[in-house]
Assembly symmetry: D2
Homo-oligomer: 339 residues x 4
């Protein structure tokens, strides 16, 4: 009951700091004992704000030297797979921020290593599954409230303000389908209970031309046929003026659930010269702040109570496989099979 899991974290950028704050300040069952970053500023944050004792510039060193039971990998996407493998081989439970990897080969390697350590808990951070509203929707669906779900409309839409900043991360992140839609892909699989079979993607750099030069886009749309005959349309945008406008609609034979519209910042509505309006969420983090904590707590509980995490390496591999198909379809302007 009072057991505390000794945790290390790698990566203390914008996202990593959020995880670290949760681990350091908001969870009774965690001791955040070690942190790793190549950035001096990030290590100073760990030391001064998080009061983490053991600081590392080198990930391998942390894995070897620190007294850890679990590691949180919040580094850049291209590091996820190899760091996860090293952690597993060192006997650590692993939480890895999504996406697991941008190639299926990397996913397969992780899976292979994980399968040799079945006692270690592993999960990939598909945080939207842990959001209160998504959980509510899932429970509704399982209770039969909307009959048989057969269509998902999903989008991950960021406020325009971060777009220019993101251009330089395109290469590391794998592009908009891996970085944004991997969430929607995971939710589609979860809500429709099937894998994506064929996809048709399109899009463009409609506003920030810099994405085009990198073979990426600022707005994309993909239609998906699933194995079980159901269907989905998945959208991503980097250019919303209104704010972070992530939204999911699940249509069933008896009803529809809509999650996230309008993307209001809070319960305040303003009536003024601009009309009747709600100011909207700025960021993904603002939207899913509570879900990040819930997800982190859930993973620690999985370790303590020997329970299987909701988000698996298999699922993450399927999501990557689909994101690759989206990307191929977008680039080659053709229908693409996922498998």
């Amino acid at each position: 009951m009072n057991r505390k899991i000794k945790v290390g974290i790698v990566g203390l950028g914008r996202m990593g700091k959020e995880y670290a704050d949760n681990l350091a300040f908001k969870m009774r069952a965690v001791d955040l004992v070690a942190a790793c970053s190549i950035s001096e500023e990030e290590l100073a944050y760990a030391r001064d704000t998080l009061q983490v004792k053991q600081l590392y510039k080198d990930y391998d060193q942390m894995i070897e030297q620190a007294d850890l039971e679990a590691v949180f990998i919040i580094s850049s996407t291209d590091m996820h797979a190899s760091q996860m493998i090293k952690a597993l081989e060192a006997g650590l439970h692993v939480f890895c921020e999504k996406p697991l990897a941008i190639t299926v080969e990397s996913c397969v390697k992780v899976k292979e290593v994980a399968s040799r350590h079945p006692h270690l808990k592993t999960t990939i951070g598909f945080v939207r599954r842990f959001d209160e509203s998504y959980q509510y929707a899932k429970a509704k669906i399982e209770s039969g409230a909307i009959g048989i779900p057969f269509m998902v409309k999903a989008q991950t839409v960021d406020k325009d303000t971060v777009a220019e900043f993101q251009i330089k991360y395109v290469n590391k992140s794998g592009g908009i389908f891996h970085d944004y839609n991997v969430h929607d892909i995971d939710l589609t699989r979860w809500f429709l209970g099937s894998e994506i079979k064929t996809v048709h993607a399109m899009g463009g750099a409609f506003k920030h031309k810099g994405f085009a030069a990198l073979g990426d886009a600022d707005n994309v749309m993909t239609s998906c046929q699933l194995e079980n005959g159901t269907m989905a349309v998945i959208i991503a945008s980097r250019t919303a003026m209104v704010g972070h406008d992530t939204y999911t609609e699940i249509v069933g034979t008896l009803g529809t659930l809509r999650i996230g519209r309008p993307p209001g910042k809070n319960r305040v509505e303003i009536y003024d010269q601009h009309g009747a309006r709600t100011e909207c969420l700025d960021t993904f983090m603002e939207r899913f702040e509570d879900a990040f904590l819930t997800m982190t707590e859930d993973f620690i509980d999985c370790i303590i109570y020997d329970r299987q995490p909701l988000c698996t390496i298999d699922g993450a591999m399927e999501a990557t496989r689909a994101a690759i198909a989206f990307t191929t379809s977008f680039k080659e302007k053709r229908l693409v099979s996922v498998s």
Copy 2:
């Protein structure tokens, strides 16, 4: 079936023109044969746009000379009662724009004359009762959908743009309670099925100081106890930036109906740098345009099919009685009995 009622109209100001347009262009069972106004511009409108043949500067003359079956009185409030009496005595059905009068004495006189002409149809234009949404709410309540209604929250709220223009009409209109809240009073009586017993009003000239000098206000709020133990809060505002924001909430033992929020102009929602928003109605007329036509058609039907109009002189008198009590309570800062 093909009978046409010969109608005259007095008053072709902003409101009168709306009525006249409906009478002239949108109703198959009406011949708009005469119009009366002291304004040359208004008479020119009647002649050129409405193509009305018989034009009068003098109301008495129209009543005597024109070949009429009914008259629509859309003149200034201070003329309503006397013009209605003259029309009744001339054997005409009468539609009179609200309020009937700003003194109970005037109402009593009209009632007395009307009672001597029981075959003539009379009504006062409490237009909100004819709005599709209000009618729907009334039917819902009568079906028992919200149990026993025991509280009304009602407001008539105009966009700020017309406030300065209204200052010069305060004296003729009887002030904000007669001009705005008479609608809410009528609806309260309709929804709660009882008369208002005691009232407590307050308010001020919070934005347009000119109203204070005239003993009027730009924002007022009145709490009402009804004879049957139910209650209401009735608000009026001349200063909304958002637009015309008329709203009514009826609370019952099993549910609540809310009519009119947000006061969106149409079914378009805008997502932009101001948030997720709806542009709102500009005017009372924009909000109730359809209801004005429905109400006018209904009155003509009452004549043709010998049916009693929904809004009666008695009701209008009670509304005036209450508006006077509101005004007195506001001016004397005390609880006032209506009867």
Copy 3:
């Protein structure tokens, strides 16, 4: 100014009656002088309710014998093209309910005949363009309010109650893409200012299996790439429990417009044991009732004032071409080029 256009109508089914009521009762510039139907009941309606004098069982006879200036074709889809051609050759202006035809060949024939009668006004009833909210959205876009529009999400969604009834009309209507999405196709072309280039459609008979046997579906989704690089996702459903839930979203570089959500019946909101809710529209007709009148008035104005109608035969042909591509893509499970 006071000119009245002599109009005949063919088809007095559910839709035809709506048109006929507007033509007979709500328009000052129309004389509905003739009606044609193969149904005795419909002719009786024309005679008794509409008080139309000249009644025909045979369309050719009406065209030849009745004293007409214009004809409204509201018959079943398979009759549209040939009836339109006959009317044009008889020198009549023609209003034709959408879709013009379900083959491009038929559209081409109509176009060819129309081009030989350039003085005759022709239009196809894409009614949604005349809805107040769609018009408002179009004006907003043209004013630059959302920057450059680059994505449309559109759906035509009917309440489940009519689905079983529709099964028997699948063959005549051309199926769900022609019957439902032809509106969305037209709107997509209008809002994005380009033609649809390639499409990928999918769907199924998820609830009413009877559609599957006819090669049709009760829910479909199509992704579209347009000539100018923009994109659209177009959905149709016959199975909504909530009501008629037609909806369009236009995304631009500076903002998004959303038209139609939630599809509330009126301005009443109910708070009760089911939550905070709005009862929704039952039918397409309930949603677009005003737009049908506006569109009909507009066409008569086009005749009177010698103005070109907004919806052209060319546009209708493009819509048919796209609907055919949707259908092919759905049936053959492949990407299809429209041209």
Copy 4:
């Protein structure tokens, strides 16, 4: 930085457990060292679930014996004042759940004792001030976003399910005005920056007749005139079917802020046979769960950083004074001055 405040709590009923859970599990700067209750079940909860070491049946004993720096008083309303006085005299910082007392005399006594211990932090738990949306609204107002605020419409509305349960607490709680509206009173003072001067209250036991026998009501409405000329209408209901429907609207010369409508449970909207709807909050606690934690953290911060709490004894006394006036006005059916 790492200082922990030693805290005791009295009262572990429904509300007390919420506070205790926050103190025990969610705050790094607190050691919950002692708990007091007359209930064996509650003490067992403290021992087993909260793992509190020092348990007391007697409040005086806890104050004397336990090693405390601060006490949280979450007992029944009639105990608040005396327990607060004892704690202050024992040199403890005090957090007291609202209302401070149901007589002004009790408030005055507390104030007098507190004034003799100026170094001790005291606050009364007006939790709604700490809700994210209320804080946002307050900041908006202070930024001038709605000009000068001059009207508040506020309500505290509970789901009907708890009404019968509440009947037996009427005597201890002081009735609906003290128990429900004291929040709205506090918010009105906060948003309008003035004290309530005169009030007119009314209401009834419209659904649960048991309240009438106790001189209480299940629905009440009070109009308030404030010292600075502004106004408020304050409503309470125990009978909402929709759920906990607490709502506040602040009207200013340039705009209006509305907080809390609809009272959706989360970001899920359901489209089904009941319409387009949102399921609503069940309880006050569900609505303000985060605010309770924020408020508790804020009070601990006030102790640690020697800062004055936002909610003062003076404010609580004014709220009690107003709630008494509401009650008197309701019982005596007259206008009542607060001072």
